[in-house]
C-alpha cells in the first residue's frame, strides 16, 4: 500500500488532554501524534483507562485539548473556532458510540434521533425527511422505522441507527468508539460488514477505537497502541501482528482469544510490567524503527533492538 503519497486527512500533533483543576490535575493524554490518511481505517487500541476514548473525543471537540493541535484538511480544528468552522467540523467528523442501549434517546423517535444534527442548518422539512430515509436505507433499515422508538429495536438494529445518525451528516471521518463491544458475536459481524460496505461506497475514513485486537486486525489498516495516555507503538496492522516490538503490544497480542482449542491450550499469556523499562535519566522517544513502524523506546532499548536485527 503506498502510504506516503496518500492525502493526510487528519493530523494530530503532540495532543494533550487534562482533567481537573490545577491541584488535582490529571493528564489523560500525554502528547500523542499521528496522521490519518484519507480512506483508511486507523485503529487505536488500549485497555480501559488508557486514554483511547479521550483521544477520539478531543478530536471531535468534546474535550478541549490542553496543548497540541488537531488539523483536519490542513485546517486547525482544536482550540477556539468560529461558529461556521464548528459547524463544518460537526458536519465532517461524526461519532458512533459503544453502547447502543445507552446512546439513543429513549424518549425520542428514530426520526428525531437521526435528524437532530441536521436541524438548524436551514434545511427544509422535506429534505430532512428524505435524508433520514436515505440514511436508514443505507444502514439496512426501512424508512418506516423512523416513527418508532429505540426500545422497539434489537441491539444490532440500534447500532445501525447510531450509524445512520452519523451518516446523515455526510461525514468524511467517522470516529467509532468500541462500536461492537456491546454486541453479540453474530451481530458484530453484521455491523463490521456494514461499516466496511459504507467505507467502500462513500470513501469514508474511520478512526476505530477498541480494546480488542482480534477485531482490529480484521478491519484496520494501521494501528496505534495506547498505554497510559501515550502511543507506545504504531504500525501497519500486519507489521504490528507479525513483529510487535513493545512489550505492552506483545502482552495485548498474547491475550487475544484464539478460536482453536489446540493452539489456545499451548498459548503463553504475557503480562505487561512497566517496571521492565529503565526510563530514569534516559527518557523514551517516539522513533521510527523501520518504515512506517514507530516505537516509544529509549536509547538503550533501541540499541538492543538494533543489536537483535543486525
Amino acid at each position: 500500500m503506498p502510504e506516503d503519497n496518500r492525502e493526510v486527512l487528519l493530523s494530530v500533533r503532540d495532543l494533550r488532554v487534562a482533567f481537573g483543576s490545577r491541584r488535582h490535575r490529571f493528564e489523560a493524554v500525554k502528547g500523542v501524534s499521528f496522521d490519518i490518511h484519507k480512506g483508511e481505517t486507523f485503529g487505536i487500541v488500549g485497555e480501559s483507562g488508557s486514554g483511547k476514548t479521550t483521544i477520539g473525543r478531543a478530536i471531535i471537540r468534546v474535550y478541549p485539548a490542553a496543548a497540541g493541535s488537531v488539523t483536519f484538511h490542513g485546517k486547525q480544528i482544536s482550540g477556539e473556532l468560529s461558529a461556521a468552522d464548528r459547524h463544518w467540523v460537526t458536519d465532517k467528523i461524526q461519532m458512533i458510540f459503544q453502547d447502543p442501549m445507552a446512546s439513543l434517546n429513549e424518549r425520542a423517535k428514530i426520526d428525531y434521533i437521526v435528524s437532530e444534527g441536521l436541524l438548524g442548518r436551514g434545511l427544509g422539512k422535506i429534505e430532512i425527511r428524505a435524508r433520514v430515509a436515505q440514511a436508514l436505507r443505507d444502514v439496512g433499515l426501512l424508512p418506516e422505522f423512523a416513527t418508532r422508538f429505540p426500545h422497539e429495536f434489537s441491539g444490532g438494529q440500534r447500532q445501525r441507527i447510531g450509524i445512520a445518525r452519523a451518516l446523515v451528516m455526510n461525514p468524511e471521518l467517522i470516529i467509532a468508539d468500541e462500536p461492537i463491544s456491546a454486541l453479540d458475536v453474530s451481530i458484530r459481524a453484521q455491523v463490521l460488514n456494514l461499516m466496511r460496505k459504507l467505507q467502500q461506497e462513500r470513501g469514508l475514513t474511520y478512526l476505530f477505537i477498541s480494546h480488542d485486537l482480534s477485531v482490529m486486525r480484521f478491519i484496520c489498516d494501521r494501528i496505534a497502541v495506547v498505554h497510559k495516555g501515550e502511543i507506545v507503538e504504531l504500525a501497519d496492522t500486519e507489521t504490528l501482528f507479525r513483529r510487535p516490538l513493545h512489550p505492552y503490544t506483545q502482552a495485548l497480542l498474547s491475550a487475544i482469544p484464539i478460536p482453536n482449542p489446540v493452539m489456545e491450550r499451548q498459548k503463553v499469556l504475557k503480562v505487561y510490567d512497566p517496571s521492565c523499562h529503565h526510563y530514569e535519566g534516559d527518557p523514551p522517544v517516539f522513533t521510527e524503527v523501520e518504515e512506517n513502524h514507530f516505537l516509544l523506546a529509549n536509547y538503550e532499548e533501541l540499541a538492543k533492538l538494533q543489536g537483535r536485527w543486525a
Binding site: 485497555e47 480501559s48 434489537s154 441491539g155 444490532g156 453479540d184 458475536v185 453474530s186 451481530i187 458484530r188 459481524a189 453484521q190 463490521l192 460488514n193 466496511r196 460496505k197 480494546h211 480488542d212 485486537l213 482480534s214 477485531v215 486486525r217 480484521f218 478491519i219 496492522t237 502482552a251 495485548l252 498474547s254 491475550a255 487475544i256 482469544p257 484464539i258 478460536p259 482453536n260 482449542p261 489446540v262 493452539m263 489456545e264 491450550r265 498459548k267 499469556l269 503480562v271 505487561y272
Partner: protein, 367 residues
C-alpha cells in the same frame, strides 16, 4: 468417558408468561454435566443459555415455570438437601430433583453450598456500601458457619487465592476502589468461599478488557483445579470457549443443537448454526472480505416453532428442515448434533470456508 455425572437434565421445558402470552424459553433440553469438567454453553442472547442455568440455582424469574422434564443433582453428601419427596435414587446414584424444589426455602443447602454462580457484571454484583471483607465473611458465615478471627483468616486466604495483592489492606476497602478485573476476582472469591461443587460462570468476562479477560479465564482455570470444581461456562463468544472448556454445548432457540468435546465442535462442527457462529468470528475472517454474518434474528419463541429453528436463517436449508424437527444424530460417542444434515438421506453439504480452514488445523493435529 466414564466420569461420574453430577447434574443431569432431561427434556426440560420452561415457559414464561408475559402479558398473557406464553414464551417457550426452553424446548426440551437434555444435558449431562460430569464431575470435574468445564462445559461451555454457547449461544446468542435469547437462546436460553442463562435461563437454563438459572434453573440450576433456583433463580428462575417469577413468571417462569418448569412445565416438564427433570433436573437431577447427584450430591456427594446427603444431608440437608431438599425435602424427602425430592430425593431419589437411580443407576447413577442418589439424587435430588431440582425441578420440583420451587420455593426459595427448599433451595437452602444447594444454592451456595453446592452450586454457585458468578454473574456477568462485577460492577453491579457487589454491594457498593459494604467492604469487600464484609461481603466475603458474610458468605463464610452463612455457608460455613465461620466467625470472627476464623472468618477473617479464611477471607484473607481466599483473597490470596484469587491473586489479590495486599489482602489485609484490600479487606477493608470498598468495591469502588477496585478495578473491573479485581472486582471479578473478588466475586470469584465469594463464590468459592461457599465451597461449592458446581461453579456457574455467566459471561464472566464480557464486561472486561481483553487482557483482563485472559487473566480472569486463567484464574477460573486455576481455581477449578485447586478446588476440584465443575464449571459451567456461559458465553456468546466461541473464541473464549476454546481456552477454558472441555466440552461445548451450542444452544439455539431454547434447545441444544450441538454438543461435543471442544476439539470436535471446533474442528468437526456439524450444525449449520455452529458453522455460522464460528465463521462470524473476526479472528477467522479474511481481511478485505465480508465476514459470514448470520442473517436475520433469532426466532420468536412466543410462536410455535416447526422444523429446525435455525432453518429460516440458514441460506442452504433443505425443505425438510422447514417442516420437521430433526432428531439427535450421534457423530461420535461424545459428539451429537440436532440437524437433518446428518441424516444418511441428506445430500452432501460443505461447511463455509472459515470452518474448513479450522478443520485443516485440527486435522493436522489429529494425524
Amino acid at each position: 468417558m466414564n466420569k461420574r455425572c453430577i447434574l443431569s437434565v432431561r427434556d426440560l421445558h420452561v415457559v414464561f408468561r408475559l402479558r398473557n402470552r406464553k414464551l417457550h424459553a426452553l424446548r426440551g433440553v437434555n444435558l449431562d454435566v460430569y464431575e470435574g469438567e468445564t462445559i461451555a454453553i454457547v449461544g446468542e442472547s435469547g437462546s436460553g443459555k442463562s435461563v437454563l442455568n438459572k434453573n440450576f440455582i433456583g433463580l428462575l424469574d417469577n413468571n417462569g415455570r418448569i412445565t416438564g422434564g427433570s433436573i437431577r443433582y447427584y450430591p456427594r453428601i446427603w444431608e440437608h438437601l431438599g425435602r424427602e419427596k425430592d430425593r431419589g435414587e437411580d443407576e447413577q446414584g442418589e439424587y435430588v430433583e431440582l425441578a420440583g424444589l420451587g420455593r426459595s426455602k427448599n433451595w437452602r443447602g444447594i444454592r451456595g453450598g453446592q452450586v454457585c454462580m458468578i454473574p456477568q457484571d462485577p460492577m453491579t454484583s457487589l454491594n457498593p456500601l459494604k467492604t469487600i471483607g464484609w461481603q466475603l465473611t458474610e458468605a463464610l458465615k452463612l455457608n460455613r458457619g465461620l466467625r470472627g478471627q476464623q472468618a477473617y483468616d479464611e477471607a484473607i486466604r481466599l483473597l490470596e487465592d484469587v491473586q489479590i495483592d495486599n489482602p489485609e489492606e484490600r479487606y477493608w476497602q470498598y468495591p469502588h476502589e477496585f478495578s473491573g478485573g479485581m472486582r471479578q476476582r473478588v466475586v470469584i472469591a465469594i463464590a468459592i468461599a461457599c465451597n461449592p461443587r458446581i461453579l456457574i460462570c455467566d459471561e464472566p468476562t464480557t464486561a472486561l478488557d481483553v487482557t483482563i479477560q485472559a487473566q480472569v479465564l486463567q484464574l477460573i482455570r486455576e481455581v477449578k483445579e485447586k478446588y476440584g470444581l465443575t464449571v459451567i461456562f456461559i458465553t456468546h463468544d466461541l473464541g473464549v470457549v476454546a481456552n477454558v472448556a472441555d466440552r461445548v454445548a451450542v444452544m439455539y432457540a431454547g434447545e441444544i443443537v450441538e454438543i461435543g468435546r471442544t476439539e470436535e465442535v471446533f474442528f468437526k462442527p456439524q450444525h449449520p448454526y455452529t458453522w455460522a457462529l464460528l465463521s462470524s468470528l473476526p479472528q477467522l475472517g479474511t481481511k478485505g472480505e465480508d465476514l459470514l454474518a448470520i442473517r436475520g434474528t433469532p426466532p420468536n419463541l412466543f410462536k410455535e416453532i416447526t422444523g429446525d429453528a435455525f432453518a429460516p436463517r440458514n441460506p442452504d436449508a433443505m425443505l425438510i428442515e422447514h417442516l420437521a424437527e430433526p432428531p439427535v444424530f450421534e457423530v461420535s460417542p461424545t459428539h451429537s448434533a440436532r440437524t437433518w444434515r446428518l441424516d444418511p438421506r441428506a445430500p452432501e453439504s460443505k461447511p463455509p470456508r472459515p470452518i474448513r480452514k479450522l478443520k485443516k488445523l485440527g486435522g493436522e493435529r489429529d494425524a
